[in-house]
């Protein structure tokens, strides 16, 4: 299974499929353009790397997907079952409506009864099959003595069907088979929209997780899944790759980038006996690590477990729909009951009273309410998805709309976590030329940034001989007979300056420092500006040194900042803000942010974030830029406004129709018209979100 983010047209499909099928050992390949994936059926000898190389050769970016974490999206049984129920309800509704139109336009006596009987024969099995999701949900709510939206829905459907059968058997005038069916159909439509929104988000989130195929290389050279590792195994961690397990270094010297775990932007030196944690990135030399904990026991997973506890508090958030249902359901039931009692006392006719009570129940049934929220959520998430935001949580938009304070993490969120060399003009041309020659020999991020910056100034590399990388320390070589070295302060024996820096020494001369700052993430400044315009307060919390944090805060324009904040303190700070009545939006990417992300009112993380951080976030930024954050808040506010408007439309419609129903003027025709009209109204109102 491969992910193909850039495939988009007919030519792409055939190029990719032919390219893959030309590889020996591949039996067949099929591209799914909707999911932007290719599934390949191949012999055991064909590796994903091989296929990715082939695709790169013909110009397509491809990534391997871990098939086991995609299991959910492959078999979409639930969605298909829901769609089938929708189709059955639709089929039955149209047939029954056809017969009902005949009745409304004046069929009488035997003809009417015949039509009613046929309607009943179509409607009953259709309702039993299609309305099951509502019955099941209503039953599970009733069992714990609670009311949800499904209780009035189920009651209305069952009563409408039951009454219609009775009326038909008594050759009555009014039968509500069509109302029961259209109720089922419209509400199933809402259910399906709701389901699809959540499924799109879930499958995209799963795909992000599946991109990180968890594998480790054993010392023997064999590659195995991390889940098969046990404590005591020796794994090799190559430069540039992430440490897959918790462990202790037994061999090799290198530097580790811990920014995802602690927020520190400075790499840390590592050698034998250094303890490493899963998630750190090895920068310079190859390391051999003895595993102390892997998979479920690693610190990464333990952190994720902590987060699971924090998350339950958020799950207790009652959405607008639930709030509406908790008021709505009892009111509707009481109204129907009063209608029955009132009419019975006034006329003494039980059949007429039941008829009116059921008509009230059908007309007030939350057709519009059942559509109001899913339709808006679908429209809003669709729009945010196109803007590069993945909404993972059902109540995320409502919570995001209430936010008044934004807390940013620094490393990896506001900044790219990639250093940028600053002000090279104070160094001489010759020094820069030597520095470039040395820096180009190493894959260390600081070296790469330095080489790129000097290259951008147009200085050619000097003629340095015998260049050699000393893992964990730096690069050395010979230039015009003198020894030249570029690397860590301790290695050169000089005093370190504050901030991120690397040092160079020419022969016996004094060492010079090249300083770096973390480059800002694209759109960071714009996002902060936009959020300020919307009246949100912003705070920068980072585990990094005060100098680095202050510099970034100044660059993006955030006044309030705190440095050297420990992971637990971040969550504590957010708790303090929450107690003072603030609704906090946390934006962060590292393991040190996960607890804070989970405890905040709403949370956003970039796609480059650690999986644990993405899992607890409500929204994931798919692109590199931060600008969509401002749009997310805007759309969330607009969506909440639409939901409330839809509730208002539904309430208005009920205010008109309830008196009519109570007075006994409601006919099956009026009920069908009113129901369709209000459903279309709320759907159209939701659609307004898509444009603009």
């Amino acid at each position: 299974m491969l992910s193909l983010p850039t495939a988009h047209c007919a030519a792409c499909i055939s190029a990719v499929e032919h390219g893959l099928e030309a590889v020996p050992g591949v039996r067949s390949a099929r591209v799914n353009l909707t999911l932007k994936r290719a599934s390949v059926d191949a012999d055991a000898g064909v590796t994903a790397e091989q296929l990715i190389e082939v695709l790169k050769g013909i110009g397509y970016e491809a990534h391997e997907l871990d098939a086991s974490s995609l299991s959910m999206t492959e078999t979409d049984r639930q969605g298909r079952a829901l769609l089938m129920r929708l189709a059955v309800a639709g089929f039955a509704m149209m047939n029954v409506m056809l017969l009902s139109v005949a009745v409304w336009s004046g069929a009488s006596d035997a003809t009417r009864d015949l039509f009613h009987w046929i309607s009943g024969i179509i409607a009953l099995p259709a309702i039993v099959y299609s309305a099951q999701p509502f019955f099941a949900k209503a039953w599970s709510a009733l069992r714990v003595r609670r009311l949800n939206m499904d209780v009035p829905i189920s009651l209305a459907i069952i009563l409408a069907a039951g009454l219609s059968i009775y009326e038909t058997s008594q050759s009555g005038e009014n039968a509500y088979f069509d109302a029961a069916l259209s109720l089922t159909f419209f509400l199933l439509g809402g259910r399906y929209l709701d389901y699809r929104t959540r499924r799109v988000a879930r499958s995209a989130a799963e795909e992000l997780a599946a991109l990180e195929v968890p594998r480790a290389q054993l010392v023997s050279g064999e590659t195995v899944p991390v889940s098969e590792l046990a404590a005591g195994d020796l794994v090799r961690v190559l430069p540039g790759s992430r440490v897959p397990v918790d462990g202790v270094i037994v061999e090799g010297h290198s530097e580790l980038d811990r920014s995802l775990l602690t927020g520190e932007s400075l790499p840390v030196a590592a050698g034998p006996e250094t303890v490493v944690s899963a998630g750190e990135v090895n920068l310079t030399g190859p390391l051999t690590v003895r595993v102390t904990a892997a998979g479920k026991d690693s610190s990464l997973h333990r952190m994720a477990d902590l987060v699971a506890v924090a998350e339950t508090s958020r799950n207790r958030y009652t959405s607008l729909a639930d709030k509406a249902a908790s008021i709505y359901a009892p009111v509707v039931h009481l109204l129907a009951l009063f209608a029955f009692i009132g009419w019975y006392m006034a006329t003494g006719d039980a059949r007429l009273s039941i008829n009116i009570a059921v008509a009230t129940l059908i007309i007030t049934c939350p057709c519009a309410l059942g559509l109001a929220v899913p339709a808006v959520a679908t429209a809003a998430s669709g729009r945010l998805f196109r803007a590069g935001l993945l909404v993972k949580n059902g109540t995320a938009l409502e919570r995001l709309a209430e936010v008044d304070t934004v807390v940013f993490d620094k490393t990896g969120t506001l900044t790219m976590g990639e250093p940028e060399a600053d002000d090279l003009s104070r160094h001489g041309r010759e020094e820069l030329a030597v520095a470039r020659a040395l820096a180009e020999a190493s894959a260390h991020p600081l070296s790469r940034a330095l080489a790129a910056a000097i290259a951008a100034m147009g200085t050619a590399p000097a003629d340095v001989e015998d260049i050699r990388e000393v893992p964990g320390h730096g690069v050395e070589g010979r230039y015009r007979g003198r020894q030249v070295r570029l690397g860590r302060a301790e290695w050169l024996g000089v005093r370190a300056v504050t901030g991120t820096a690397t040092y160079m020494q020419l022969g016996e001369g004094p060492a010079m420092a090249f300083t770096f700052t973390d480059s800002l993430r694209e759109g960071a400044k714009e996002a902060v500006e936009e959020l300020r315009k919307m009246g949100l307060d912003m705070i920068l919390l980072s585990g990094d040194s005060p100098e680095a944090v202050a510099a970034v805060a100044r660059k993006v324009g955030i006044e309030a900042w705190e440095a050297q904040v420990l992971p637990a303190d971040k969550a504590a700070r957010i708790a303090v803000l929450a107690r003072s009545g603030r609704k906090v939006l946390m934006v962060g990417d590292g393991l040190n942010d996960t607890a804070a992300l989970a405890s905040a009112h709403a949370s956003i993380s970039p796609a480059s974030a650690l999986e644990a951080a993405r899992v607890v976030s409500d929204i994931v930024l798919l692109g590199r830029s931060l600008t969509p954050i401002a749009e997310a808040v805007q759309v969330a506010r607009a969506a909440t406004r639409r939901i409330k408007e839809n509730f208002a439309i539904a309430a208005l419609y009920n205010a008109v129709s309830i008196p009519v129903a109570l007075a006994g003027f409601a006919t099956p025709l009026a009920a069908a018209l009113a129901m369709s009209f209000s459903s279309i109204c709320v759907s159209l109102n939701a659609m307004r979100l898509i444009r603009r």
Partner: protein, 53 residues
Amino acid sequence: MNVLVYLIPASLLLGGLGLAAFYWALKHGQFDDPDGDSQRFLSRDYDDKPKED
């Protein structure tokens, strides 16, 4: 009114056919890749026969 004897079963049959067709399409994965299918017919590769899974 005797015409109803034919018309009602006819309308039910036609509707049922539609339903059966939809059921078949759903079971056979016709809705798995709508974007891809709308593009595939543009290419000459599948003119002879549709691509097998």
